[in-house]
Amino acid sequence: MADFKLHPSEALIGQPIEIGAAVLACNQPANILSVAPFKGQGMAVNDVLKAVVKLALPTVGRVRTKKHVRAMWAGQGQWFVVGDIELAVLAQALDTKAAVTDQSDAWVVLTLGGADAREVMSRLCSLDLDALEQGQTARAEFAHMMSCITPTPEGFEIMIMRSFAKTAIHHTREAMGKLAALRAL
């Protein structure tokens, strides 16, 4: 079969964008797979995932990491398994238990770090950032777009749909610039 997969473009965000005390970068994982368990198959899916990637599905609004694979809640009845895991492996293992689709080229993973990461974030996202702890993840609005927001020790990870990536980078760059200008006053 032909390879229809789109690959990350260097031109989009080749090197980290640093403005003021905030840094925006792209940290695209090898794979992003969506796992949506069929009705009543949640426990069976957990058993398979424990065997294949040594991870069970986290509860609503949580992330779990094991070595190079991460499982994150991604909405009602949907999880993303992110990292070094191939579609064929997971799709075969979860055959009758869950719908598994390749989302690797459908989402772009951005990271926002630096001392002002939180300040920049608060200009773009209406989430209560103080209430968001490590190990949590939230589906939320980011610059008028749907996103997955995950706090990291360095700042935030922002997953955005690939077709919105340019817009997301534009808005984030603007917010970083405005904050830096404010700080320079």
């Binding site: 609503v60 609004g61 909405g75 009602q76 209406s126 939230a138 589906r139 939320a140 609005e141 749907m146």
Partner: protein
């Protein structure tokens, strides 16, 4: 106006999309034209509490059954539409 999503917690209403009356959950079975006409077109127009369907479109994508006071915009109760439909069966 803030809506307490059962999955995501309290969020601003800009994250949600409004569909209409929660009467849409009560789709009539069978081919009774009068019942279906009623289901599609007839709505109460209350002041005060009204049951509505909202979707957390910028968040978890869940459909929600929201009881809202249409006069004061107070949100009185929020449940997953799935659970409300299940309970009605």
């Amino acid at each position: 106006m803030r809506i307490h999503c059962p999955h995501c917690g309290e969020r601003d209403h800009r994250e949600f999309e409004y569909l209409g009356s929660a009467k849409l959950l009560e789709r009539p079975e069978g081919g009774d034209a009068a019942a279906f006409h009623d289901y599609v077109f007839q709505r109460k127009n209350p002041t005060g509490e009204n049951a509505e369907l909202w979707q957390h479109v910028m968040g978890c994508s869940a459909w929600l059954h929201v009881v809202r006071n249409v006069t004061t915009h107070e949100i009185i109760a929020v449940k997953l539409a799935r659970d409300v439909k299940e309970a009605a069966r």
